[in-house]
Structures are given as structure tokens and as C-alpha cells.
Subunit: 135 residues, 2 copies
């Protein structure tokens, strides 16, 4: 994968912007999108993510395992930047190293009162810019 895109993905994913989403799908091709709050890209191909709500996203990931994160920065409707990070679920931890690591991050946020149900562990399969449109 392109090193520049990896660096940008790390920066934008790890900032935990309020505009970060994860799109997933069930076996009948029903697509869902959810705002995701707490995640960390821990190396070039791994993202760990706190699951406290997101029931439908969780069910979809258990069914098909695939998704795409979008971090979209719009600067109040003026300009558009961001990244698309395509992922596959590798693990779903309810305890362990990654669970503890994402719980520490969760505990430092306004979501600290939510029970951490799962730590999703994703393999990054592809990274794309926000738009491929050529003028």
C-alpha cells in the first residue's frame, strides 16, 4: 500500500474525529453506516476499535466481516479532505491486550461511562483518498 496514504490514514483515524464512520453489510446486502468514536490504527495494517453501542454494525461484522471507515473533514462546507480505509474483521476481543489498550483510550473520553463490550481488531485491506474524481 502507498506509504503516503498509510500515514494519512494513521493521522486521521487516530485523531478520532467526530465525523469518522464505519459502513458494514449483512448477508442480504443491507448496508449500514454508523458513527464510530474510539479507534486506533496501531500499525500499517491493523485498526482496533471500541464497541459499546453499534449493535447493527456488530451483527453485520459477525455476519460478513467487511467494512470501510471514512474520515471526512469538510471545514464547515468549504473544502473536503479525508481518507477511506477498507477493513476486514480479524478478531473480536472481550478481553486481552487490544481490549485493554482500547479501554484505556475509551476511559479518557466523554464515553468513559459506557461499558466496553468488544474490541474489534481489523486488518486494513485497502486505503483510498476520499474522491477519485478527475476534472
Amino acid at each position: 500500500m502507498n506509504q503516503e496514504l498509510i500515514l494519512k490514514a494513521k493521522e486521521l483515524i487516530n485523531a478520532n474525529y467526530i465525523s469518522t464512520t464505519l459502513s458494514t453489510v449483512d448477508k442480504e446486502y443491507n448496508v449500514n453506516i454508523a458513527v464510530i468514536s474510539i479507534m486506533e490504527m496501531i500499525d500499517d495494517e491493523t485498526i482496533i476499535c471500541a464497541r459499546f453501542g453499534a449493535d447493527l454494525t456488530h451483527a453485520n461484522l459477525k455476519e460478513t466481516g467487511k467494512g470501510v471507515f471514512l474520515v471526512l473533514l469538510t471545514d464547515n462546507e468549504r473544502t473536503k479532505d479525508g481518507i477511506r480505509v477498507y477493513v476486514e474483521l480479524k478478531e473480536d476481543q472481550t478481553q486481552g491486550e487490544y481490549y485493554d489498550r482500547i479501554k484505556k483510550r475509551l476511559d479518557q473520553t466523554k464515553y468513559c461511562n459506557f461499558e466496553l463490550k468488544n474490541c474489534w481488531v481489523f486488518k486494513v485491506t485497502k486505503i483510498l483518498p476520499v474522491s477519485m474524481l478527475k476534472r
Copy 2:
């Protein structure tokens, strides 16, 4: 469907916010997300949408026909509001009434120099708020 959510969907979809996305999927459950610029919710259950780029989204819609729009307003990282509109592709016009209608809208935007390839016609199947998280 809930009338309040329908009204909110119309308002937010029809504003054509820069942060509007459409998530779709292919037959192998590979999910994609694309920023979508020109669309109009013309009644309680119909959205028409200009396709000039979005090649992968177009291919996905032809394969599985399902998707979800998200309009997410973040007020520069302070607050979060928006709507999720779940859709199914009903028609894909390269001419006709809806094609002409969305072309008129496209022509009034900064994207007017792009060739309008398709007008996607979607049936709205479900509308949800951005988050279902209960505190």
C-alpha cells in the same frame, strides 16, 4: 415511516451538503463509501441522484442495488447531527424525466462541467437518526 424523520431527511438530503455520503456493496460483501454531491428527495419515498463519477458505487448498485445515505453535520467537531436514509435502486435513467430534473440541478453547481452519466432513482426503505446510543 416516522413523519419527523421524513421531513428531516428531505431537508438534509436536499441541502446537498458536502458531507453527504452513499455506502454500497458488491456481491462479495466488499463495502464502499463515496461522497455524493447532487441529489434530491422528491417525495416521501424517492431520491434521485446525479452520477458523473462514482464508478465503484455505480457498479455496486448494479450488482446488489442497496445502499445507505448519510448526511452528517458536525459543526467543526463540536456537535453531531444528521440522518441515515436507507435506499434501494429502482431505476437507472440515462434519459427521461428524472434525468432531466437532476441535470438541471447539476448545471447550477460547480460540477456543471461534468457529463451526467446516470440518474439513479432510489426507493427509501428506512430512515434512522445518526446515533441510536442511549446514555
